[in-house]
Symmetry: C2
Subunit: 661 residues, 2 copies
C-alpha cells in the first residue's frame, strides 16, 4: 500500500517530468498531466493490470489517453514504470523529429501507446471498440485468457465532440461494464472557461445514456481509488467525473487556460517546485520515487506469469495466438480461389454490394475473427451473413454489431476492435456518409490498422435519394488519404479479389465502394492471379491492330467502358479497356507494369461516376474524362446516367470527335 | 378552431398524398409522414407563422424537416397550404429527375424548403443557426421586425448522430428558447427496433444539455398543441418527445421498419384507405379539406401585412432589406483597395492566419453582418477582431460565437445562420479538423450558401503537434467538393483578396487555408485588380529569356518557389513562378488565360506541403511535384520542411536533374 506521502511524490514525478519536457521542447501541454497526475498514479499503482517489461501481454488492461494533447502524462508513466521504449532521453526529446515521444501519442511509436489520440473524442470512441473487443474475445476464449478492463482519460473537448455521444450511447446500450472513463473535469478549454461554451450536466448525460456516473475530487487519491473500485463492480460502463485543477501547482497559471497548451515558463516552474517542495533539477526523479514506480511497473508480472501458465495449458492456445497475431487461418487463399472458380462458372449479375455479401459469406465462414456491422443500413449494405448473429448486451459471443445511426462512432469503435487484437472489423454505411466517419478513417490509415469500411450506394447509381446521398467527390477524397486502399470493384470476381486484399492487408485499412445497382459478371474466365491486387489491369485488349484508344474505368462504369469499346471497335477503332479497382495498389506496381497498363494509345479516356480529380494519373491532362462535374440529382438510375452523359454512346462520341480532330 | 374531425381529415390528406406519391415513384419513405401528420397539422394550422403566397417573408417562422427522408410530409404541407412551387403535378412527380420534389428536400428547389436535409442530424444542427440568427437579427433590428420561432422535426437517426449532441449543447448553452424540436419517437430505425442499438433516455439527455423536454402522445392533437404552447413560453429550447406510430394506418406495416423506406404496396394502401375511411383515388384531396388547408396557408397573411407596415415605417428599413438580400454595403471594393495599398506599403511579415485577422478587422469594421467564431481555437485561428464581442445567453447583440469543441455543430450552425438571412457567418478550426465538419461543409456547397470556413494550421508547418494535426490530404479533399472555393493565400495581400472573393461569393462557400508560420509579403506593389480572384497568376516572370521552368505553388510554399526560382535563375535557367491561391477560380477563367498562365516551359513544377492529387492539372503527369506522399511528423518546422524535402534547394535540384537529362 502506497502512503499518501509516497503517492504525492510519485504523482509529482509525473508533474515535473511533464513540465520539464514541455519547457525543453518549447511547446506542449503541461496542464493536463499536472491536473491528472493523481488519477494516473492511483490507476497505475493500484489497479491497472500490466507488465511494463512485457507490454504486449494480450490480457493487459488498456489505458487510453483520449485527451491526447496531455501526452506527457502517458510518456511519464511509461518511463517511470519502466517501458523500454520510453527512456529518459525520449522524455528529453519530447516532440522532436524522430523521437518516440511525438506531440500527441502515436500508435506504433512505443509499446503502451494503445491508440493514436489527439483529434478529440477519438480515444473515448476507440475505447468502446476496445471494451467490446475484450468481451468478444472473452466469449471466444474464456475468462482464463481474456479478462481485462479498458480505462480512459478524457477531457472536456472529448466530451463536447459529437462522436462522444455516439460512443457512449453505443457503450451504454451494449452494457460494456468493463469500460471506465475518467473525465478530467477541470472547467477549462483553450478559449477559456468551459462555461463560455457549455453548461452540460455530464453526469446526467452519461446516466441518460446508460452509464453509471459519479462526481469525485480528482486530486484525492482515496476518492479516486474508491471510484475505480465502484466502477469495477458496476453492471454498466462508468464515468468518473473527476474535478481537477489544470496545471495544478503552477502559482499563477493553475486553473486557467494559460496552463493548457504552452510551456509554463521558468518562473511558474520554479514556483511549482517550491509549491511541491521538489528541489531537483529538470528531469531528475528521486531514486526512491523511481524505484516505487518501477515496482508498480512490475506489479503485474505475477499475473502475467500465471496467465501464461493458463495459456500454455489451454486447448485454445494455438488459435488464441493466431488470432492475437493477426495472421489468417491457413488456406485462406485456396478458399478465395475456389470461390472465384464458382463465380466464373455462375456468372452472377448482381450489385457489388450483393457480391460483397457473397464474398463475406465465404470469408466469414472461414475466418472466425471477422466482426461485421453497419450503421443502421444492414439490409442496404449487405453486411450480414449467415454466420453473423447479433451481439447484444447479454451475448458477446456473436459476430454482428448493429452500430446504430453512428457512422463516426462505428468507425472509431472498429479501430478499437482492430487495435485490441484478435478481431478484423468491417462496417458499413453509404459511401456519401464516409464523410461522417472520415476522422476515424484517417486515423486508421495513420495507425496502419486493418479496419474495413464497406461503403455501398457509391454513385448517382443509387438513384432517387438524390444529391445528398450521391457521392461525387468521395472516391477522390478517400483516395487522397495516405495508406488507405480504396477499392471499387466492377463485378463479383473483382469484389472477391478486393475483399481478399483488404483482409490480407494487416497494415492498411480499406474502403470498398460498392454499387446499389446490378452489374454483369465481366471476368467470366477463372484466373488464379488476383488481378485486382495490381490496382489496374487490362480487361479487354484492342482488336484489329494497335490500340488507338484506351478506356480506363472503375466499378459500375467498367460495363460502360466495355460498351463504348464495342461501339468503337465496330467503327474500326482498336480499343482496349483497363479496369481500375484500386489506385493505390496500381501505384505500388513496377514502373514497367504501370507503363504497359497505361499504354500508348493516342486517345485515353477514363469513366467514373465521380469527379475527374486523380484520373489524370491515367489519362494525362489532355485525356477525356467521362464523369461528374458537380452534384447529382434525384431521379431513376435510367434517367441519371444519360442525364449526366455517362454512357457508352457519349463516351464513344467524345472519342470519335477526338480521333477525327 | 379546427374540430377533431377536421384535424383528422387534414392530417389524413398528408398521409395519403405521401403514400400515393411514394407508391407512384416506386421509392421513398411513407412511414414518417404517416406517423407525424398530426404534429404537422397542428403546427401548420395553429402555430406556424407563415404566408404561403409570400413564402420568403423574412419574419416567418421556420420549419425544418431534419428527418429529410420524410420529404413527402413537407411537400404535402407545401402543396396543401398553397405554395406555388409545389403543385399537385410536382407531388405526382416525386423523386423524378427535374422535379422540385426530390428524394430529400433540396434547398432552392422550392420556397418553404428552408434547408437541404437527408444526411441525418444536419437539420437539427442547422436549426441552432436559424434560432441564433433570429436572436442576432432581433437584437439588431428589434422585435417589430424580427420575432419568430424555429420548429424542427427530427427522427431517431438525427438524435443518434453525434452532431446532434454538439447542436443541442450549444443551443442549451445559448438558451435559444425559440427553438422547438419535435422528436418523432417511433421506436423504429432502418435495421429494426431502435432498441437494437440504443436505449438512451432522450428527455433526460436533453435536460442535461440545458433543454426543456417533455414526453407527449404525438398523435393526439391537443397534447401536441399544449406542448407547443408550453415550449413557446419556456426560457430554454424545448424538445417534444412525441410518441408516434411509423406508417400509422398501414394495416400490417405500421409500427415496423417495413413502413420506413419503401412503398407500402397496393394492399397496405387499400387497407389504410379503409382504416381512415378515405374513399378517394390517389392524389385526390376532398375539396373542403383542401380549402381548410389553403385557409391555413393564408392565416399568416394579416401578420405579414402588419409586419410590412412596421417595416415601411422603420428607420431601419433600408439596412434590414440590404441585410436580408445578402447584398454588401456599398463601397466594400474601395475598403479592400485601401487596405491592399496599406499592405503594399507596410509589407507585413506575418502568418496568413494573422493576415486573415487583419483582413477581418477591416471587413468586420465595414460589414455589420459578419458573425465570427471558432471551435475553441480563437487565439489560434485569429478569428476575433475588435468589433466582435462574445454572444452570450443574455446578449445576442454581439458578433462572436464561442462554438466550443464542436467543429461539426459549428459548420452546421453557420449554414443555419447563412440560410436564415441577414448574416455572413465565418468560423474557424484547424484545417485537419475540417474532416469533422465535412458533412456540413458539403451541404453548404450543395445548397450554394455563403458559409466561410477559416482553417488555420494548414500543413506540416504547424510543427510539433504532429501528424494527427497536420493536414496532408485535406486541400485535395476539399478541392474535390463541387462548388467550394478553397483558398490558400501566400501573403497578406492574397489573404485580403481571398477574403474579398469569399465575402462576395453569395452562392459559393469558401475555405481559407491559412498558415501558423510567418510568411513574407510577396506582393510588394499595389495592384488594383484582385489577382487571387483569377485563381492563379504569374507572380514572378522569367528573366533572361523564355521560361525554361515554371513553378506553381500555393500558400506558404510560394516563398519556397521564389527561393527555388532565385537559385535556378542564378544557374542560368529562366524560371517563372505562378501563385495558385484557388484551383476552382482558375478553372473559371478563359481557356486563353489558363493556357498562358500555365505556359510552355519545358519543366513544370508544383510545390505544396500536401499531396500531389489535383496538381497534374497544372504540371501534367510528367511534372515534378514537391510535397508530401504520406503523413507528417512531430518536429519543429525548421526540421520538418527539409525532412520532407520541401525546400528551395530540393526543388532546384530536382529541376536541374530534369534539365540535364
Amino acid at each position: 500500500m502506497v502512503s499518501r506521502e509516497q503517492h504525492d511524490r510519485m504523482a509529482n514525478a509525473i508533474r515535473f517530468l511533464s513540465m520539464d519536457a514541455v519547457e525543453k521542447a518549447k511547446s506542449g501541454h503541461p496542464g493536463l498531466p499536472m491536473g491528472c497526475a493523481d488519477i494516473a498514479t492511483v490507476l497505475f499503482t493500484r489497479f491497472l493490470k500490466f507488465d511494463a517489461k512485457n507490454p504486449h501481454w494480450p490480457d493487459r488492461d488498456r489505458f487510453i489517453l483520449s485527451a491526447g494533447h496531455g501526452s506527457m502524462l502517458l510518456y511519464s508513466l511509461l518511463y517511470l514504470t519502466g517501458y523500454e521504449d520510453i527512456t529518459l532521453d525520449q522524455i528529453k526529446n519530447f516532440r522532436q523529429l524522430g523521437s518516440r515521444t511525438a506531440g500527441h501519442p502515436e500508435y506504433g511509436h512505443a509499446a503502451g501507446i494503445e491508440t493514436t489520440t489527439g483529434p478529440l473524442g477519438q480515444g473515448i470512441a476507440n475505447s468502446v471498440g476496445f471494451a467490446l473487443g475484450e468481451r468478444i474475445m472473452n466469449a471466444a476464449f474464456g475468462k482464463d485468457l481474456v479478462d481485462h478492463y479498458t480505462y480512459v482519460l478524457a477531457g472536456d473537448g472529448c466530451l463536447m465532440e459529437g462522436i462522444s455521444q455516439e460512443a457512449i450511447t453505443l457503450a451504454g446500450h451494449l452494457k460494456l461494464n468493463k469500460l471506465i472513463v475518467f473525465w478530467d473535469n477541470n472547467d477549462i478549454s483553450i478559449d477559456g472557461s468551459v462555461s463560455l461554451t457549455d453548461n452540460t450536466d455530464q453526469v446526467a448525460r452519461f446516466q441518460a445514456s446508460g452509464w453509471n456516473a459519479m462526481h469525485i475530487d480528482g486530486m484525492d487519491p482515496e476518492a479516486i481509488a474508491y471510484a475505480i473500485e465502484a466502477a469495477r463492480h458496476s453492471d454498466k460502463p462508468t464515468l468518473i467525473a473527476a474535478k481537477t485543477t489544470i496545471g495544478f501547482g503552477a502559482p499563477t497559471k493553475a486553473g486557467t487556460n494559460k496552463a493548457h497548451g504552452s510551456p509554463l515558463g521558468a518562473d511558474e516552474i520554479a514556483g511549482a517546485r517550491k509549491f511541491f517542495g521538489w528541489d531537483l533539477p529538470p528531469f531528475e526523479v528521486p531514486t526512491d520515487v523511481l524505484s516505487a514506480w518501477r515496482e508498480a511497473g512490475q506489479a503485474g508480472a505475477n499475473a502475467r506469469t500465471e496467465w501464461e501458465g493458463r495459456l500454455a495449458k489451454s486447448d485454445k492456445k494455438a488459435e488464441f495466438e493466431r488470432r492475437v497475431s493477426g495472421k489468417l487461418v491457413e488456406g485462406f487463399d485456396g478458399v478465395i480461389a475456389d470461390y472465384k472458380k464458382k463465380l466464373a462458372a455462375d456468372k452472377p449479375k448482381v450489385a457489388t454490394r450483393k457480391s460483397s455479401e457473397m464474398a463475406l459469406e465465404v470469408i466469414n465462414g472461414f475466418l472466425p475473427e471477422t466482426i461485421g456491422g453497419s450503421a443502421d443500413l444492414t439490409g442496404s449494405n449487405n453486411t450480414k451473413t449467415s454466420q453473423t448473429n447479433n451481439i447484444t448486451p447479454g451475448d458477446y459471443g456473436q459476430r454482428y454489431v448493429h452500430y446504430g445511426i453512428r457512422e463516426h462512432g462505428m468507425a472509431a469503435a472498429m479501430n478499437g476492435l482492430s487495435l485490441h487484437g484478435g478481431i478484423i472489423p468491417y462496417g458499413g454505411t453509404f459511401l456519401c456518409f464516409s464523410d461522417y466517419a472520415r476522422p476515424s478513417m484517417r486515423l486508421a490509415s495513420l495507425m496502419g490498422i486493418r479496419s474495413i469500411f464497406v461503403m455501398t450506394h457509391d454513385s448517382i447509381g443509387l438513384g432517387e435519394d438524390g444529391p445528398t446521398h450521391q457521392p461525387v467527390e468521395h472516391l477522390a477524397a478517400l483516395r487522397a488519404i495516405p495508406n488507405h486502399h480504396v477499392f471499387r470493384p466492377a463485378d463479383a470476381t473483382e469484389t472477391a479479389e478486393c475483399w481478399q486484399v483488404a483482409i490480407e492487408s494487416e497494415k492498411t485499412p480499406s474502403t470498398l465502394a460498392l454499387t446499389r445497382q446490378n452489374l454483369p459478371e465481366l471476368r467470366t474466365e477463372y484466373v488464379a492471379e488476383n488481378l485486382s491486387s495490381k490496382g489496374a489491369y487490362e480487361l479487354a485488349a484492342a482488336e484489329g491492330g494497335e490500340a488507338a484508344v484506351t478506356i480506363f474505368a472503375s466499378g459500375s462504369e467498367v460495363e460502360i467502358a466495355l460498351g463504348a469499346r464495342a461501339l468503337l471497335q465496330g467503327h474500326g477503332h482498336p480499343t482496349r479497356v483497363v479496369s481500375v479497382p484500386c489506385f493505390e495498389l496500381f501505384d505500388e506496381q513496377s514502373a514497367d507494369y504501370q507503363a504497359s497498363t497505361i499504354g500508348k494509345a493516342g486517345v485515353k479516356v477514363a469513366i467514373e461516376a465521380g469527379i475527374r480529380q486523380g484520373w489524370d494519373r491515367f489519362i494525362g491532362t489532355d485525356g477525356i474524362f467521362v464523369g461528374m462535374t458537380g452534384f447529382g440529382a434525384s431521379g431513376t438510375i435510367e434517367q441519371l446516367y444519360p442525364h449526366f452523359g455517362i454512357t457508352a454512346e457519349a463516351t464513344a462520341k467524345a472519342v470519335e470527335a477526338r480521333l477525327h480532330k
